[in-house]
Amino acid sequence: MSNVKAIANDAPTGQQELKQKKSGPWREVWRRLRKNKAAIFGLIVILILVFLAIFADFVAPYGYDDQNLQARFQTPNSQHWLGTDNFGRDIMSRIIYGSRISLQVGFIAVSIAMICGGTLGAIAGYYGNKLDNFIMRIMDILLAIPGILLAISIVAALGPGLRNVMIAVGIGSIPSYARIVRASVLSLRDQEFIEAAKAVGANDFRIIVKHIIPNSMAPIIVQATIGVANAILSAAALSFIGLGIQPPQPEWGAMLNTGKQYIRDYSHMTAFPGLAIMITIFALNLLGDGLRDALDPRLKS
């Protein structure tokens, strides 16, 4: 389970920065991001992961489900750099294929959360009053249920499998997006350019989509980067307690769960998938931090 969410809470909002024109400020953000070595390091790691995920078929030395019951539990060696598992499958290949699943879960779950949460937050913030109250109370209720338990119950209700894990993890993080978007909308709602748009007769939908959302992108991007990390960890946690992705899919958390049984004799089975998760989350966090600093230069002294 991830705890990264809380970091994002102190993410300052950078919308002032972005108000002027469209391409200008983003180039500026990129320029600032580029100077941040740690963030670039994170970005590179993530790009490598994306590359591995896309080209897993070419990169991985073996298939993720190539069992060889004669070659079980091999510790790292020249043929199997990271060893083999309890079915004699190559752990490195499984980790490489696993990046597909983790990245998918990460991005899709975050998209679900971002779309649902963002919409709800925008509506709540823009219309205010009763609707706002109603939506935000529901978000409070969702927040009061511990995320992992919520995810477990959703997976129990929907059944396991990649798609349902993405939904479960996504639903769990809806409230945080709703809150962020609502906060930005609230701060933008009464500003002059919105008034101006209203004055020229733009309808609510147009105002929200054309003016408000683009201007609240900064905190959303930061939250999303960290949210991907969050989602990957949650999915791994679900698989770890046996409720996630279906075997023989090489999900990292599921690999940890299997490895757990053999932890005393063959700890390479738990060490490497865990390391893979950690490096991914680490990189996403570096990038997230960098993005936050780049989007809000006030914090950088």
């Binding site: 070595k37 390091f41 069992q67 079980r72 409720l243 757990k260 005393r264 390391l275």
Partner: protein, 515 residues
């Protein structure tokens, strides 16, 4: 905010740390178990994988509860470790006619609350069990319980039922005291009263149950003063606790830990064939598994030896038929299917599936069953069958398999009574489709007839014959891939003596002593 170089140095340190973790934990290390000073120990600590659900034998039918109840309650008759019937609370019994058995109760037996055991308690217990949704089926054939006098009771069935005595040895039929149950009310399951060698003392919910020796026991008194039965659900952890001396006996040692316990000089490993079998069932009501050739083909296409090796690390044995060797009248002369891909292909071709088909293998989230599913999935590729593994949660699993939504599925069965009726009727009789136990939806009138006949047969030889025949038909009809016959694995500290495993898994602890 970070200097790139420093960052990289630190990262590599972390990586090194993790590698170190891997490297370091390689050599097995058993050195940290210091021999405790030989003070007279008077508490036996046992670790099992789950907390008991209830100590009211009629409120549940789960192994962890039985394992505790076994020490507290006694049954009319006992089945010893060789599954032979022996007197229990009943000193003797006589078959009065085909339907009725008369039991003479041992006199002067006191319940833990001071009440004396009377025939009325037996009547009360059995009638109460009949009303229970959890254990009703175990005594379901009983029609009438009559009190003849204070120490004589007659139990009759509507039809002759040869396995009656075996059923009356089931822990679920432990004799209760009417007064204690009435006084206990809803909470009886939390403060059980039996006649056994140990009395209930304390229950730390979810954690442990404490028992204390019954000084007024009517038989050979227990040897150890206190027993603590701890719930240590994680299998690895339970073994670690055994190694570090935290517990004296660990139940259900995992196959992966067998070598470790065996090689540890301060521990003893007990391995005994049990009454459990694991099988991969086909949904015989559904194409393509409604074709016997397909079912047989898959039996040939799956290498059960490799499953036993890879999943169970060589513990237990590949099954020959539906009943394990410990069950009475088990037919061990059945020919094992064996691993024969060519034969499998031929049969599939004959059935019109030379190009294979797509199917699914259901399993619940039991690690070993998931492992089996993965191996089977992989092996079926060789005969062009593309099987998807579906790990389904237990609740949904039972519901889905009862409703016939599944294709192939993995389940286990424990023939607790060691009588073939218990091991075959619910699983293969066509009246038991769905929740009742026959989740393959297998139906063969001949098998039905044999099972029905054997159930009421009074002639032992005829009964045995019928069951052996039924097993042969089932083997040939192949509603299952006969997969694995289990073994009970328990680890004890070296100084624990007098511990024997019961094939049904509820081991008695009152013969145990420390050396």
């Amino acid at each position: 905010m970070l200097k790139n170089k420093k960052l990289l140095v630190l990262l590599s340190l972390v990586l090194a740390f993790a590698m170190f973790a891997v490297g370091c934990s390689k050599p097995a290390d058993q050195g940290n178990v210091d021999d405790p000073a030989p003070v007279a120990k008077d508490t036996l600590v046992v670790g099992q994988g789950a907390d008991a659900v209830s100590l009211d034998p009629h409120a549940t039918n789960d192994q962890p509860s039985s394992r505790v109840s076994k020490q507290i309650y006694e049954t009319l008759v006992n089945q010893n470790e060789a599954m032979e019937l022996q007197p229990g609370l009943a000193e003797s019994w006589t078959q009065i006619d085909d339907l009725t058995v008369e039991f003479k109760l041992k006199q002067g037996v006191k319940f833990h609350n001071g009440e004396e055991l009377k025939a009325s308690d037996v009547k009360f217990t059995l009638e109460r069990a009949l009303q229970s949704s959890h254990v009703g089926h175990i005594v379901g054939t009983i029609d009438k319980v009559e009190v003849v006098d204070e120490y004589t009771v007659r139990v009759s069935t509507a039809e002759p039922f040869a396995a009656l005595l075996a059923h009356l040895a089931h822990t679920a039929t432990g004799i209760l005291n009417e007064k204690a149950v009435t006084d206990g009310g809803e909470a009886y399951g939390q403060k059980p009263v039996g006649t056994g060698p140990y009395k209930f003392s304390n229950w730390v919910v979810g954690d442990k149950i404490e028992l204390v020796k019954n000084d007024d026991y009517h038989g050979t008194p227990a040897k150890i003063q206190n027993i603590v039965i701890r719930n240590i659900s994680d299998n690895t952890t339970r073994t670690i606790e055994l190694e570090s001396g935290g517990i004296d006996i660990a139940y259900d040692i995992q196959p992966t830990d067998v070598k470790r316990v065996e090689e540890n000089t301060s521990l003893t490993l007990l391995r005994d064939a049990n009454l459990a079998t694991t099988y991969i069932g086909f949904n015989a009501a559904k194409a393509p598994f409604n074709d016997v050739r397909v079912r047989q083909a898959i039996n040939y296409a799956v290498d059960t030896d490799s499953i036993v090796e890879a999943v169970y690390q060589g513990v237990g044995a590949p099954s020959k038929g539906p009943l394990g060797p410990n069950v009475w009248a088990s037919n061990q002369n059945l020919e094992q299917y064996g691993y024969d891909v060519d034969k499998a292909k031929a049969l599939l071709a004959e059935a019109g599936y030379e190009n294979g088909f797509k199917t699914s293998i259901w399993t619940n989230d039991n690690q070993q069953r998931m492992d089996i599913a993965e191996i089977v999935q992989n092996q079926l590729k060789a005969v062009n069958i593309e099987a998807e593994v579906k790990v389904v949660e237990w609740g949904a699993y039972l519901e889905g398999t009862a409703a016939g939504e599944h294709d192939m599925f993995i389940l286990g069965w424990v023939t607790v009574t060691a009588d073939p009726d218990y091991g075959l009727y619910a699983l293969f009789h066509s009246s038991q489709h769905g929740n009742a136990g026959n989740r393959t939806f297998y139906a063969n009138p001949e098998v039905d007839k044999l099972l029905d006949e054997a159930r009421v047969a009074t002639d032992v030889a005829a009964r045995e014959e019928a069951y052996k025949k039924a097993q042969e038909i089932i083997r040939n009809d192949a509603p299952w891939i006969f997969t694995w016959d289990g073994e009970n694995l328990a680890g004890t500290a070296k100084n624990v003596k007098g511990f024997k495993q019961h094939p049904a898994g509820h081991h008695k602890l009152f013969t145990v002593y420390f050396e």
